[in-house]
């Protein structure tokens, strides 16, 4: 077959952003500095949402009531990531997990760590669907989601 006669132009677009957290999410991070995980409770459906919302997505009501939720919860689902993706903050291998913190009505997305993650077969003996995990805090708080360093399996 004849060699393809086409050309490629390479390029890269880099755009800086400064994204506002707004009042509710700023406060969530302020609470993290005090090592508290806070959700918001809907006055209408009474659900407690973590991450908190300024309004309930289902009822469209303002959510003004802050509620502290447990730092422990159940793993609703998880994924072992051992493949690099562009601009990924976390080093592979890592585990993304959906955690239902006690006292909340939503799954909270974070990472499960604090165990040897190198071998998947060993990891799956420790990290289980329905298993319990608890928050481990970063010593230094930077006002981002990794102020909770990770969730570790409860023995």
């Amino acid at each position: 077959m004849a060699k393809e006669e086409h050309r490629i132009v390479k390029g890269q677009v880099m755009v800086p952003y400064e994204v506002a957290l707004g009042k509710t999410w700023s406060m969530f991070y302020d609470f993290l500095k005090e090592e508290k995980i806070m959700g918001k409770k809907c006055p209408q459906c009474s659900r407690v949402l973590v991450p908190p919302r300024s309004f309930c997505p289902r009822c469209f009501e303002d959510m003004d009531e802050w509620v502290e939720v447990s730092q422990e919860g159940i793993v609703e689902t998880w994924v072992y990531v051992n493949m690099p993706f562009f601009a990924q903050e976390l080093k592979i291998p890592f585990i993304s997990a959906q955690i239902r913190l006690d006292g909340s009505d939503t799954g909270f997305i974070h990472q499960v760590a604090g165990i040897d993650l190198t071998e998947f077969e060993k990891v799956r003996e420790i990290v289980k669907l329905g298993g319990r995990v608890k928050a481990v805090w970063s010593r230094e708080k930077k006002g981002n989601i990794l102020d909770i360093a990770y969730f570790e399996p409860v023995k």
Partner: protein, 388 residues
């Protein structure tokens, strides 16, 4: 439902790595094919709807400017709609709305993507919010794996059974793609190939996952009156549904998946369908991941919750089964994302008009098409039939 609307023509590119053409020329390939199929010219087109993934996919902002002329849009109204993976269904719906409202007689709808030009997984990672969830994102495979695991756990589906059924889905989609000249991946695979393929995010392996494709699709919508005049065999729009749910992953139940369930239920109500498994002749489901296809079967009422693997293993959704699913080889074998949902609709239209060639399901009269978008957030369904 508004005035009666029919599809009078469809066109698709050869999907795959299309570095032989620039993006506008790729789009024009599908548009030209659709006009030829309908037997009309650009002069007949009253308006154009298009959609793609986020512009970062190809690194050119607002791609509707970039390939406007390739859609023949000079001097015509243009409307861009995007809902991530469900874009293809959303633009089909908008084409329908425009004609059903009586504001246009014939509307051209175009979906496209040129994924080889950028980093698809990096682009999709920016769909996550920058505050809470993006840090833990692992592209689309991460999300769909989490959803599949939750679904299997919820319905106590043994891991081996889920694996077996997902592998069967991969094998049958690959077999079906052999019949589709437009498909990106046209290679047969065996159960062993799937089960031994490289792990992407456990238990999802390489052959459980769609490719990143370049491709475009164009579909032409017309009023009932125009359709009867122009087209020997139009595909009639029988029903459509679209539903969204919360942005944050984990805030809604993805094992039951309200948006997928309700989008189909709405389309069924409009089409008068009560028993989809019995009444539908074929379905083109948005299936970028084998495991996820099974969740859709349940959401769409093809089988009871938690039983999709059993139905898969007894062959219900094979080409010669009770309800053939994705005779085109599906999203699993071609995924130019902005086009994908519209390809599902085009394939459904081809099926009910007997124009699907080697992938034709014999005597198909009623077909479902579908697409899903965002971080499992949106679902759209369109049902077409051979009769109004």
């Amino acid at each position: 439902m508004g005035n009666a609307v029919a599809i009078i023509g469809t066109g698709q590119t050869k999907h795959g790595r299309r570095s032989d053409v620039c993006y506008p020329d790729l789009v024009r390939e599908a548009v030209t094919a659709a006009l030829e199929d309908a037997g009309i010219t650009l002069k007949d087109i009253d308006g154009i709807v298009l959609g793609t993934m986020p512009s970062m996919m190809e690194g050119v902002s607002s791609t509707h400017f970039y390939f406007a002329e390739a859609m023949g849009s000079v001097g015509k109204p243009v409307l861009k709609v995007e809902t991530c993976g469900s874009t293809g269904q959303s633009i089909g719906h908008c084409g329908f709305f425009w004609v059903a409202s009586g504001m246009a007689d014939i509307v051209l709808v175009v979906g496209s993507e040129k994924m080889s030009e950028g980093d698809g997984q990096a682009t999709m990672t920016t769909v996550f919010d920058p505050f809470f969830q993006r840090t833990f994102a692992a592209g689309a495979p991460g999300v769909f794996t989490m959803q599949s695991m939750e679904w299997m756990y919820r319905f106590k589906i043994p891991e081996e059974k889920g694996r077996e059924a997902a592998a069967r889905i991969s094998v049958s989609n690959h077999d079906n793609a052999m019949d589709n000249p437009h498909a990106h991946i046209r290679t047969r695979v065996t159960m062993e190939d799937v089960k031994n393929a490289r792990i992407i995010t456990y238990p999802v392996r390489l052959l459980d996952v769609c490719p990143a494709s370049d491709g475009a699709c164009a579909v032409i919508f017309a009023t009932g009156e125009k359709a009867r005049k122009i087209c020997r065999k139009p595909a009639w729009i029988k029903g459509l549904g679209f539903r969204g749910e919360e942005f944050f992953y984990g805030e809604s139940d993805k094992a039951i998946w309200m948006s997928a369930t309700e989008a189909a239920a709405e389309a069924y109500r409009q089409a008068g369908i009560r028993n989809p498994l019995k009444e539908l002749d074929v379905a083109e489901i948005y299936n970028p991941f084998t495991y996820q296809e099974m969740i859709f079967y349940e959401c769409f009422g093809f089988c009871p919750r938690g039983e999709a693997p059993d139905y898969v293993l007894k062959g219900t959704f094979l080409k010669d089964g009770e309800l053939p699913c994705c005779p085109s080889g599906g999203t699993l074998c071609s995924n130019p994302i902005g086009a994908t949902g519209l390809i599902r609709l085009a394939e459904a239209a081809l099926q009910v008009t007997g124009k699907a060639g080697a992938r034709q399901v014999e005597g198909a009269k009623l077909a479902l098409s579908h697409a899903m978008g965002g971080v499992d957030q949106f679902n759209g369904v369109t049902i077409v039939g051979s009769e109004l």
